[in-house]
Structure formats: C-alpha cells, structure tokens
C-alpha cells in the first residue's frame, strides 16, 4: 500500500470542502491491516482525530454520534419488537438481527439530517426505527438469496433456523417496520406521515429492482457488465435504503416540505455506492470485526466492481476460466477456486482500481454534501453528515 489512513487529505483543513471530487486520499485496507481503533473525544465533538504528523482525518464525532443515536434507536426499537407467541418460531427470530448490533448508520443519517434541518430527535426517531427494521428485514432475505453463512459475527438466521422460518421472520420484520411509520402521524401530522410512506414505497421498489439486477446477473452468469451497469445496480440496491431514503425522509421531517429533494439523491448515490465498494473491499480482508465471511462475495459469484474490472482486463484464458467458475453454483466453487479468483483480481489491479474508484465517488459525495448543508447553521449533525464520506473508509 502506498498510502494509509494517516495520509488522509481532504484537500483543505476546512470542515466543508467545495474542492473538486477526488481531491483527497486515504486507504481503507491499510486501516484494517493496522487494526487501528480510534477513541472518541466527547469533550471536543468537532475535533478531528489527527496529530501533528498525520494531518486531518475523519472527525471522531461520527463514531460518537453513531453510538449516541444508535442507543436511542435501539431503545425505541425495543418497543416495537413483539415478545409474545409464537416466540421460538417467530418473535425470537425477528429480534435476532436487531439484537446483534450493527452500525446504525442508516437511521442515524435520517436523524442527523432531520436535526440539521431543524427537527427534534423525537420527530425523526420513528422513521429511524423503521429504517433499521427494514434494513434488518432485507438482510435476512439477502442472506438467504446469497447463501451467506455469517452475519454480524454469528451464523445467519437461515443457518440457525432453516430457510422457510427465516423468510417468514424477514417478512415479519418488514411488516413491523411499517408500524413506527404509521405511528408517525401523531407526531409529524398525517400529511407528512403519508409523504414519508410514499418515500418508503419508492425506496422498497428501488431496492427490489437493484436486488433483482444483481441476482439476475448471477443466475444468467453475465460477464459483460459495464461500470455503469454496476453503478445503477448499486444505486438501487444499496444507495436508496442506505443514504438516499434516510436523508430524504430526514429532510422532509426537518423542512416540512419537499422542495429540492433531488440533491439528496446525488449525495446519497455517491456516498451509498462508495460505501458498497468499500464493503466489497472489506470482504476481501480477514478481520473479525467485519463480521462477514472472508471472500464470501467470491464464493457467491457476486458482481462487484472488482470482478467486473477483472473480467475486462484479464487475459483471454483467465477470462474463460473466470467465466466458467462463475457459472458454477456456489457449492461447486471451492477454496482453491476462490484463491485463484483473488489472485486474478490482484494481478489485474482490480482491488486498487476499485479503491480509487470509491475514493472518487466519496469525493463527489463530499462535494454534493457541501451544497446541501452550506446554508445550515453549524451543528454536530451538520458535521456528522459532512464527515460520512471519509468515515466510509475507516469503518469496519
């Protein structure tokens, strides 16, 4: 690695940068290799975790606020998790993934956006809980569809209880997520409540379309995908639920109107896809904090940006073999096959390529975020939103 997280350079020491996209550097994998764990400084929320020799880095505020909002969301979410019968066959499973933790990035983004635009935590907490429940519902189904075995450091729900019960628990989680959105009416009024529900419907459609694209590519063994195909899929599958929806809902609650919401799509798209690429990069790194199966994406034949790049740049014979390996079902790709695939990714420079690609997208996210928050008064929530683009590369 030629760079490390210590070299993170936002191009300016100002909290908000309107510098052109891609004007900073950092190295996600170096962070993991170093195993560095940052400590939050509660007394100086806007201070960056930097020292005299390393320059500015992501403010510790992000980790702090994720903990703070995460705790509030978990407390509120408990009220919505049923505990009655059928306990063993449903409600224990419904509460399993939410109890395993998680970063709470999505709901925290919703709360931070709402608060940055003037709402209270109480106005946004219901929508935030709904987002986290939806996210967990989708994870349950994703794990089944991908054949994943580990989630948040423990066996996936279908590994523990079988596919039929896990599907049912996922359905129940999604239904459960609607409850706080309906309860919103008392807090934010029926008109805004309905508007948030419409946003939810659109997000659900986008996510379903993105998931269909990715699963379809695998089923049909598509090997001629372009980067634009990948960006569109990641926009729908990841960015909508991950960032676009939380920021749009947060802004609706904060502004009490739907003026100029498109800007959140741009910010959310760039940040969400950078997040997804980084997630795929982390999948190639053995780190117990990551909580997922090492090389799981290669075992699954997932069409990551790295794989798409390698399919374009590999030699003819490598491409033929890659195509043949990807055509096999997951259980017929063994560790040796996956090791060879990793080698090809490395040789083609696909990992380094994806890393820089993600940095470019994060730079654009930073730029778009500047346009959104520049007129807002200084606040912890504003700094939190501005810091997400760099935090993406420090998280595990």
């Amino acid at each position: 690695m030629s760079e490390s997280i210590r070299d993170l350079d936002l191009g300016a020491s100002e909290p908000r940068s309107r510098a052109p996209p891609g004007s900073y550097r950092c190295d996600p994998l170096a962070t993991l290799a170093g195993g560095e764990e940052r400590t939050a400084d509660a007394t100086a929320p806007d201070r960056t975790t930097s020292d005299a020799t390393t320059g500015p880095r992501t403010p510790s505020l992000v980790a702090e606020m994720l903990r703070e909002y995460g705790a509030a969301i978990r407390t509120e979410m408990k009220h919505y998790l049923p505990s009655g019968a059928p306990k063993a066959h449903l409600y224990d499973m419904v509460g399993d993934y939410p109890a395993r933790g998680g970063k709470m990035m999505r709901p925290s983004i919703c709360i931070a956006t709402a608060r940055a635009f003037g709402a209270s935590l109480e106005d946004a907490i219901g929508s935030a809980v709904a987002i986290e429940l939806m996210h967990n519902a989708i994870l349950v189904h994703d794990d089944i569809q991908d054949g994943s075995t580990i989630r948040r450091g423990a066996p996936t729900l279908h590994e523990l209880h079988g596919v039929p019960l896990a599907i049912n628990a996922g359905d129940a989680l999604f239904l459960l997520s609607l409850r706080p959105l309906l309860d919103n009416s008392d807090r934010i009024g029926p008109a805004l409540c309905e508007r948030v529900l419409r946003e939810t419907e659109q997000m659900a459609w986008e996510s379903a379309e993105g998931q269909a694209m990715e699963l379809g590519w695998r089923r049909d063994n598509c090997v001629d995908l372009t980067e634009s195909d990948y960006l569109l899929m990641a926009l729908k599958k990841t960015a909508w639920l991950g960032v676009i929806y939380p920021t749009r809902v947060g802004a609706l609650i904060g502004m009490r109107n739907d003026r100029n919401l498109d800007r959140f799509n741009r910010f959310g798209f760039f940040l969400g896809v950078a997040f997804q690429i980084q997630d795929d990069l982390l999948n190639l790194v053995a780190d117990p904090r990551y909580g997922k199966e090492l090389d799981g994406d290669l075992f699954e034949g997932k069409r990551t940006l790295m794989l798409i790049h390698a399919l374009k740049t590999a030699s003819a014979s490598e491409r033929v073999h890659l195509t043949e390996l990807l055509a096999r079902p997951r259980d017929r790709r063994d560790a040796e096959d996956v090791a060879w695939m990793r080698e090809v990714l490395q040789k083609c420079g696909s990992i380094e390529y994806a890393r820089r690609f993600a940095h470019g997208l994060a730079g654009a996210a930073l730029y778009e975020c500047g346009g959104i928050v520049e007129a807002l008064p200084a606040s912890r929530d504003k700094t939190f939103l501005q810091s997400l683009a760099t935090w993406v590369f420090e998280r595990v």
């Binding site: 030629s2 350079d9 191009g11 052109p20 996209p21 891609g22 004007s23 550097r25 980067e227 634009s228 960006l231 569109l232 926009l235 498109d262 799509n265 741009r266 798209f269 760039f270 896809v273 420079g349 380094e352 390529y353 820089r356 690609f357 993600a358 940095h359 470019g360 997208l361 730079g363 654009a364």
Partner: protein, 223 residues
C-alpha cells in the same frame, strides 16, 4: 554511435485522441496512474484517471435516473389533473376564497361551463355555458362545495334547505340562487348566521319548476 543505444520515442499506449471527461484536467487517463512513481503526489490540480472516470460515470448514472424520475412525475401529475386534482383544486380555491373575517366579502369564482339551455341563468354564460359566482357572507371561516349538474331543458336552480350532518341539528336556510345586479350571471349567495352551529350542511339543488335534480351544495362552517 551504436545503433543499439539510439534514442527512440516510446510507443504511445493509446491509439486515438482522448475525448473523455477524464482528459479534461490533463491527467493520463484511466488505468495509467499505476505507471506513476509510487509516491508521486496526486494533488496540484491533476485528477487521478480512475477517480475522474468514476465521478464522470457516477454523474451520468444519477442524472439519468433523476431525469427519468422527473419525467415519470410529470406524466403522473398530468394524468391526475384529469380527475381528482381538478375537483380538489376547485375546492381549495373556494376554500381560500371563503375564508373571511367579520364583514361581507364577495368572492367570485367561475365554476362551470356547460351547454346553455335558453333560460335566464344559463344564457348568462359565455359560449352559451352556465356561469355562476359564489357570494359568501360569514363571520367565521366557511367552505362551500358546489356540484352543479344541470338537467336537460330549462334550469332555474333553487335550494330548499341544507340539512345538518349533525343528528338533530338545525337546518341551514341561508343559501339561495339569484341573479347578479348586472343580470349577467347567476349567483349562489351563502349567508352564514352568527348563531349557526359549526358543522357541515348539505342539500340538493333542484330545477324550480320541474323539481328535477340539478346538483348538490354543501357548506362547512368552522367554529
């Protein structure tokens, strides 16, 4: 000079002109940054080719999606104008016109164009249509909804009384059709008494002679 050591220009890696966004900032283009010295800085106005390409592609994808979304929204909105939206827009208009404070306010709104039928009221409209205005006198906010459905032939509308939606509530008798002072158009005059209980009052509009159904009118009086 030995031919073996003769200086030669290196073969260019590209085979055509660069026309992509990536060349805008004079960087070497996608994939070539690996050729740079490992510790060469990427600042100084030069943008890494991969990064520029990522951002360029990203903007293309998201702008395309936004355009599609705007187009879909436009089409949906245009479609909805043909049905519910018109009714709600008219109601909103009447609502805003009828929100008055103490004193008389004349609010004029042209509501309907339909085929003229040769009676004093229907002749008043332009192009042979029926033109009505609504005049509201109320000390409190009041909303009037008029659904006019003139029967064939002569149509001189009358309203008997508007029944209260509240069980046992007193009927509202302050609604009547008349001609405007200049005789050009019909007027639905609504006078809300100060002692009228808040609520919704509604009733049928009938043709004055044949008693055929000619529509409905409802008045909502706020506290």
């Amino acid at each position: 000079m030995n031919q073996q050591y003769r200086y030669r220009r290196p073969e260019p890696t590209r085979t055509g002109p660069r026309r992509s966004f990536a060349s805008t900032y004079d960087h070497p283009g996608p994939g070539s940054s690996a050729e740079r010295a490992p510790n060469a800085p990427s600042g100084g106005g030069r943008i890494d080719g991969v990064i520029a390409n990522a951002v360029d592609l990203g903007y293309r994808v998201i702008e395309e999606q936004l355009q599609q979304g705007q187009q879909a929204a436009r089409q949906l909105r245009q479609g909805s104008f043909s049905s519910r939206a018109i009714e709600s827009d008219i109601n909103a208009l009447i609502d805003s016109l009828s929100r008055v404070t103490k004193g008389a306010i004349d609010a004029w709104a042209e509501l309907l164009s339909a085929a003229g039928r040769g009676d004093p009221v229907s002749r008043a409209g332009s192009n042979g249509g029926v033109a009505f205005s609504i005049q509201v006198k109320s000390g409190r906010p009041a909303q009037v909804t008029l659904d006019l459905r003139p029967p064939p032939g002569r149509f001189v509308p009358v309203i008997a009384e508007l029944k209260s939606a509240t069980p046992g509530g007193r009927p509202f008798t302050g609604a009547e059709f008349a001609m405007s002072p200049d005789g050009e158009r019909g007027v639905l005059a609504i006078t809300v008494p100060d002692d009228l209980a808040p609520g919704v009052y509604s009733g049928d509009i009938l043709e004055s002679v044949t008693k055929q159904f000619g529509g409905t009118v409802s008045v909502r009086v706020d506290p």
